[in-house]
């Protein structure tokens, strides 16, 4: 019988704890497939961050370190500087990367720290039950913006890829999503490039994945994908913001 669907080797048998319809699962799978395709599971060390993806240390079948909230880029820096021939990646959410860990993120990027960053932007704090994230949209209702995000009080959302693309140390800054087969394929290519860049010692590579949080958005999985398409993509345009390999080719 032909196998049409199989679990990537770089995922363990531990069942995901993610909510139904949450796109974390898809992104995990893409990362694991890329690790398999590059044959690097034995050399890879992942850094789990604080948030819904904290348990990712149970899911990826490579060595894993769980970092304090926001500190994954610093932990990854310590790992990479000690293990320059290994592959180090972080898996971070928006609160972790763009709020409490923004300093670590910007400085890892500007140092050109040779690591791979998978950034899940779902415009909300998932694990703590749906509070405003640095990427929550203007007007977005969350537990801590019950009347909608008022930018005159709570400020404006951060566009991470745009911001990091201004830094010389950033090798790749690409925003993708996983709402369709086509976009999943683009996302996987981007993730693969982010890992290959590290192997080729190109510097800091970040793939921002616009993701859903049906649970805290209060929507069904289908509605959540629609909300992402109608609200997030217009505010956070998909695309490549920086790619040193393309610059070289050009």
């Amino acid at each position: 019988m032909a196998v049409v669907f199989d679990k990537p080797k770089a995922l363990t048998d531990v069942p995901f704890h993610y909510c139904p319809g949450c796109t974390h699962g898809i992104v995990h799978r893409l990362v694991a497939e890329v690790i398999d395709e590059l044959g690097i599971a034995g050399d890879t060390v992942g850094v789990a961050s604080v948030g819904c993806s904290v348990f990712s240390y149970n899911y990826f079948d490579c060595d894993m370190v769980q970092a304090p909230h926001g500190r994954a880029p610093a932990v990854a820096t310590g790992l990479k500087r000690s293990l320059p021939d290994n592959v180090i990646f972080t898996y971070q959410g928006d609160g972790d990367l763009a709020a409490i860990g923004m300093a670590e993120t910007v400085h890892a990027a500007t140092r050109g720290e040779n690591i791979t960053v998978i950034f899940i932007n779902n415009a909300i704090y998932g694990m703590t039950g749906g509070q405003m994230a640095p990427t929550s949209l203007p007007g977005q209702v969350t537990q801590t913006t019950p009347y909608g995000r008022d930018t005159s009080v709570a400020g404006h959302p951060i566009r991470v890829c745009e911001l990091l693309s201004t830094l010389s140390g950033t090798a790749l800054a690409q925003r993708v999503t996983v709402d369709s087969v086509k976009n999943v394929n683009i996302a996987k290519k981007a993730i693969k490039k982010a890992f290959e860049n590290q192997i080729n010692k190109r510097g800091y590579s970040i793939v921002e994945v616009l993701s859903t949080c049906p649970t805290n958005w209060g929507l069904s999985p289908e509605e959540a994908l629609k909300w992402l398409q109608n609200n997030m993509i217009p505010y956070y345009p998909l695309g490549v913001y920086k790619d040193v390999t393309a610059e070289k080719e050009a």
């Binding site: 050399d43 060390v45 490579c62 060595d63 970092a67 500190r71 610093a74 820096t77 500087r81």
Partner: protein
């Protein structure tokens, strides 16, 4: 042994770390420890090591967390306000059972405080360098030679028991110069770190370095297991120096820089015919309870001398259990007690006893 060289405390400590096999230093500038970072930035490239000036103390300690996870000997150094910033990372390091070397060259506090020597981080170092149930192995050097010797000791004990080590120094020891001898360069046999996250190479099960345990029973069991290790450390790693203690009526208890001052005061007291002695805790955690308890039978008065408002004195009282008098003398804010001041306190106690 090699020959003696005249070195500043901070630089001697940094060199000792390199000789102990530390090749990963992460730090952030702060007075009065900056010479450590400056020295490391000069030496690390020469020995193929990594010096990295982090964007913050918070980042620096987490870089240490990453490097220690990789299984290498890593280190960071700072001074009081910077150590407060590191406390989150220290708690995670302890909760992840990682060894790591953290240096605090103390200055006056609280807040931005001052930049002169102090010992006011004793409580922080020994009781609560971060949230949760945990301890660090805390060493208090009182000479530049000890700044050197305690580096490899700190690594060895930390790696054996998988706990972070702090060398609690101060601005005086950091800045002053003394002749030091570096131990004969030896390939320090480091215990194999089978727990390190350095890539499983498809040859072993994956390693996870983690401090998150959602199940209370699991977390309690892990914390209890860690405390069993702490009991072993208490049983085997207590260190203190005793100076003229055997026949002493009055025993001064002081560590680090204040012990240097107190030793002179004890000498002055002996010259004046007062039977004074000095107990100098070398490990602040585990606190050298045994040494203090042993002295209780013949000691009428214990006098704690510290460069703070009285912190270690609590631990001395716990050991003495009310069986002798315990008093305190201290200066704080960057002020250093003089031998005369301490001698006066000893004299007052001796006069009181004579009455």
């Amino acid at each position: 042994m090699g020959e003696k060289v005249l070195m500043k405390g901070n630089e001697a400590l940094a060199e000792a770390a390199i000789q102990a096999g530390c090749r990963h230093y992460f730090g952030y500038p702060i007075t009065p420890q900056t010479e450590i970072a400056a020295y490391m930035s000069k030496r690390m490239p020469k020995v193929g090591g990594c010096f990295l000036q982090a964007e913050s103390e918070v980042a620096a300690i987490n870089m240490v967390l990453g490097a220690s996870s990789a299984g290498v000997r890593a280190m960071t150094s700072s001074s009081s306000p910077g150590i407060s910033l590191k406390s989150e990372g220290v708690s995670y390091i302890a909760g992840s059972d990682l060894p790591a070397l953290i240096i605090n060259v103390q200055r006056g506090g609280p807040g931005l405080g001052g930049i002169q020597p102090s010992q006011s981080d004793y409580w922080q170092a020994t009781k609560a360098l971060g949230h949760g149930d945990f301890q660090l192995f805390v060493l208090a050097p009182s000479t530049i030679q000890e700044m050197v010797d305690f580096v490899s000791l700190g690594y060895e004990v930390g790696e054996k028991y998988r706990i972070p080590t702090m060398i609690l120094s101060d601005g005086m020891l950091g800045q002053m110069m003394e002749p030091v001898e570096f131990p004969e360069a030896k390939e320090t046999a480091q215990a194999e770190k089978t727990w390190a996250t350095n890539g499983h190479k498809n040859k072993r099960k994956k390693n996870i370095i983690n401090s998150l345990y959602i199940e209370p029973q699991v977390l309690e069991d892990l914390v209890k297991e860690r405390f069993e290790r702490y009991e072993k450390i208490k049983a085997t790693e207590q260190r203190a120096e005793e100076y003229l203690v055997d026949d002493a009526d009055i025993v001064v208890v002081a560590f680090g820089a204040s012990a240097r001052v107190s030793r002179n005061a004890v000498n002055m007291a002996r010259e004046a015919g007062i039977k004074a002695g000095l107990i100098r805790p070398i490990t602040l955690w585990p606190f050298p309870e045994n040494t203090i308890k042993k002295a209780v039978s013949h000691t009428k008065d214990f006098l704690c001398v510290e460069m703070n408002m009285g912190q270690m004195v609590d631990d001395v009282r716990l050991c003495v259990e009310g069986k002798s008098e315990v008093s305190f003398f201290g200066r704080t804010g960057g002020m250093i007690p003089t031998p005369e001041e301490v001698f006066n306190e000893i004299k007052k106690l001796s006069e009181k006893e004579a009455k």
